[in-house]
Amino acid sequence: MTDGVHDMGGARGFGKVVPELNEPPFHAAWERRAFALTVAMARPGGWNVDMSRAARESLPPQDYLAKSYYEIWLAGLEKLMAERGLVAADEIEAGHALHPPQPVRGTLTPGDVAQTLYRGTPTAREPTGPARFAVGDRVRARAVSVPTHTRLPRYVRGHAGVVELVHGCHVFPDSSALGAGENPQWLYAVRFSGRELWGTDADPTAQVSVDAWESYLEPA
């Protein structure tokens, strides 16, 4: 969705960025397990990256802002599993399986891990038609507020920019998150000037781009 609390670009008041010197990949043992459970459950769970993101960003806003990163992952994972009847609330309460497992399409085995990670999950698809825009074209991000999953951040909404890169055709997240198919579309990097986005007082040397699917854009 647009306008959720996860749609943070340009929001004020969050303060300074605080880097941590020599930061470890994980800060607690449970973060390691929460990370690995989330990665490993995608195969038996049958969800895609867009569904995972949609689950996280549709948490209640107060939870999203209060939770740490891996707490958000955990809440998203629980939500995806609950929706599919993979784990029930009474099981989490008991700390053990109480109901028979659902049939799943597979499990990540130790022997699979390296190959699965190396292969990844490419989202590029063969084009089904010509690209509507070319590098250098002026385009405008549609002025829409989307109630379901989307990847158009609100801060570019209604603003005009220039196509800088054509990335090819990619799975359309708005559709994929809903389980409504991949419906690939042309994907572009669209560059906006800081002043277009933030007004005439903005840093004149700043330029910001987003990756935007074709249906997010119209000619400008």
Partner: protein
Amino acid sequence: MAHDHDHDHEHSELSPTQLRVRALETILTEKGYVDPAALDILIETYEKKVGPRNGARVVAKAWSDPEYRNWLLKDANPAVAAVGYAGRQGEHLVVLENTPARHNMVVCTLCSCYPWPVLGLPPVWYKSAPYRSRAVVDPRGVLRDFGVELPADTEIRVWDSTSEVRYLVLPMRPAGTDGWSEEQLAELVTRDSMIGTGLPKQPGGAA
């Protein structure tokens, strides 16, 4: 960090989140959805094997070999795979070259998109609200949080990773490194210099 929650042996000290993760792993294992040995390998991969040293090797090679640099900028995935890195959260890589006129900086305002095969898992600050909110509206202010001050006329080019394309910054090679080996050069390449919130180390130690 203020807390170290790694004392799993003391059950009474476990937080609700620790208990919940433990319960989930037990349930998912009992149901046959996950294999704990696979979880161990996933964790080990991102704790020990995949991290910013990978990206540093790619950058050092690009600094050393103009043909490789051109390939990397034109078609990043095969060029990065030639050094041995590919896969999850790096399926569609684009490399952005810093120049005296233009400084690139990468953010994901909507979540935490980050090029795992070359940089590993993102640091906490990259996933935090301050960075995600401010990088696009006040990039020079964010750079100052990192102690980086760029010339006033340098273009600051922010890339918001809103798709499955992942961006890696190719920083400028520090002066005074003529004749250095790729291994020596890689030591100068910091994680933050490949995100665009930092600069490479200078020969002689200064950051």
